[in-house]
């Protein structure tokens, strides 16, 4: 009823652990998969180790959170054994998220990370920390986005998902560009903003980095609209991500056109249990509304 396929990867249910939440180690990925996630995505990996920004790197507000973790990771060499352990021990498909600061490096990393045989590779071209030569994320420009996809394709035969930024004028056009360049799917969206929180007693921004990506319930309407636009613009499967905290939100994403649903900040509100609770709630909704399988709901909101 809930099983879906993402470019050949079989998911028991549509929930996907989003990159950047947990997923730092092999054991962490396996743990989330065992809690019921349909697929798990690693924290984004780069060629070299990165310590990330100085703390505070995460803060919360009434409708979400703001983070500037700064893409900390041990680098591909130290992460490969973790990824191999995850691929071996996880009951669900593992998606390897990678990011680089140049187009060439994306190709190199795609090749490196493929050694561990993840089911999919996600190209993180949309984090505020991943900039092109003009200081913007690659995802803000259709040409740069396509170049990254082409470079990564040369490095690997594993299907590629591209994680897009909502902070663009026309996300549908970017989606079309990466589809043309050979992408196998799209993850949307990355965090919104960046945003800022000022503590008024301290009279200064809370994050040491001052600004950070906004996630959580506050961004869900933006995410749903982006998924809707991408579904209309391309034929690619979409991992709809952004502010999904419960089964109703997940259904909404599917109706906008998502094949699978990314879950990140919800771990803050509901713990890792959300990965078993959301599929359960989805099943209940489908039974009561008479949907026999998830495909019946996918993109249904587009019907006139």
């Amino acid at each position: 009823m809930l099983s879906v396929s993402l470019a050949g990867a079989k998911l028991q249910n549509p929930t996907v652990l989003a990159s950047g939440v947990l997923g730092t180690t092999g054991a962490s990925l396996i743990r989330v998969a065992k809690e019921g996630a349909g697929a798990v995505t690693t924290k984004s990996i780069s060629l070299e180790a990165r310590k990330g920004h100085p703390t505070p790197v995460i803060t919360t507000f009434d409708a979400g959170m703001i983070n500037a973790v700064g893409l900390s990771n041990p680098g591909i060499k130290d992460f490969l054994p973790e990824l191999e352990a995850a691929v071996k021990g996880s009951p669900s498909p593992v998606i390897a998220s990678i990011f680089a600061s140049t187009i060439e490096e994306f190709g190199e990393l795609a090749k490196e990370v493929s050694q561990a045989k993840p089911s999919l590779i996600e190209l993180n071209i949309s984090c505020p920390n991943v900039n092109d030569e003009f200081g913007r994320p690659f995802a803000c420009d259709a040409v740069s986005s396509s170049e990254v996809v082409k470079a990564a394709k040369k490095g690997t035969a594993i299907p590629l998902f591209v994680k897009l930024s909502p902070n663009v004028a026309n996300i549908g056009a970017i989606a079309q560009a990466v589809e043309k360049a050979g992408a196998d799917g799209i993850t949307a969206i990355n965090t919104v903003g960046p945003g800022m929180q000022i503590n008024i007693e301290a009279a200064m921004p809370v994050l040491t980095n001052k600004v950070g990506g906004v996630s959580g319930p506050a961004i869900k309407p933006v995410a749903v609209r982006c998924v809707y636009d991408i579904y209309k613009a391309t034929k690619l499967p979409i991992i709809g991500t952004g502010g999904v905290t419960n089964a109703r939100d997940a259904i909404e994403m599917v109706m906008a056109g998502a094949t699978a649903v990314g879950i990140g900040s919800a771990v803050y509100y509901g713990g890792v249990e959300v990965f078993s609770e959301i599929p359960k709630g989805m099943r209940e909704f489908m039974e009561s509304e008479g949907y026999s399988k998830i495909e019946k709901m996918r993109g249904i909101a587009h019907e006139e």
Binding site: P56, P74, A202, Y269
Partner: protein, 271 residues
Amino acid sequence: MRNDEFIVMPIAQTKDETKTSRTFFFDYNLNSKPGQFVMLWLPGVGEKPISVSGEKEGRFSVTVCAVGPVSKAICELKKGDKLGFRGPFGTHYSIPKDVESIAVVGGGYGSAPLAYLCEHAIAQGKKAYFIEGARDSAHLLFAKRMEDAGAEVLLATDDGSEGVKGFPTDLLKDALKAHKIDRVFSCGPEIMMKKVAEISAHFNVSSEVSMERYMKCGIGVCGQCAVDELGICLCKEGPVISGKTALSLKEFGNYFRDSSGKKIEYNSRRV
């Protein structure tokens, strides 16, 4: 919807504990339990996870040891200066009703949550053995506070300048032989805690340890403090875990991860 924003307020009082550590009191009802921690934020400088070292009657405290740039800057603060915190976070030490007497084993500034725990236990009418180890007498924390609270205080120093010359784990062994102790709690260097868990298991006494890892978010999201091989986050499913769980962890007493996630082996240190 849940929200863990910082609360920034003036320090109500400070107390120097040793040459390098200072306790900060806040007039705020944190509703903490012994073993839990807060993320302490000095605006403009940085943030650190710190155990709550006491709470009663609308006032809680944290005890900070000046070791890195952030904790050193915090230790310069005086009464009335502003400091931020969010929390309390994490699991806490647990004392089941049928437990009549406890022993706590602290090393270095690990004694902070244990002093809070002993006060809590004594208030419930339980007997408490407060075992503490430090380099020398100048580095001992809370011995006087624990005597005043009515705990049995047992001290060990590396140089014998106070208490016995030796290790707190030896004092624990002696205490378990000589007295009826129902539960053991520990916080401090990991190699010491590993010994505490092993000794307690040997005497068939349940134990709990407070296991620390590099923490960033404090709310179980960023995954920085996930431990092998359970994959649990110690900021949420720890820091307090049973000695049995700790001994089952591959990395307990062996290695930890730095802020990038790289594994770092513990040096083999004597405790």
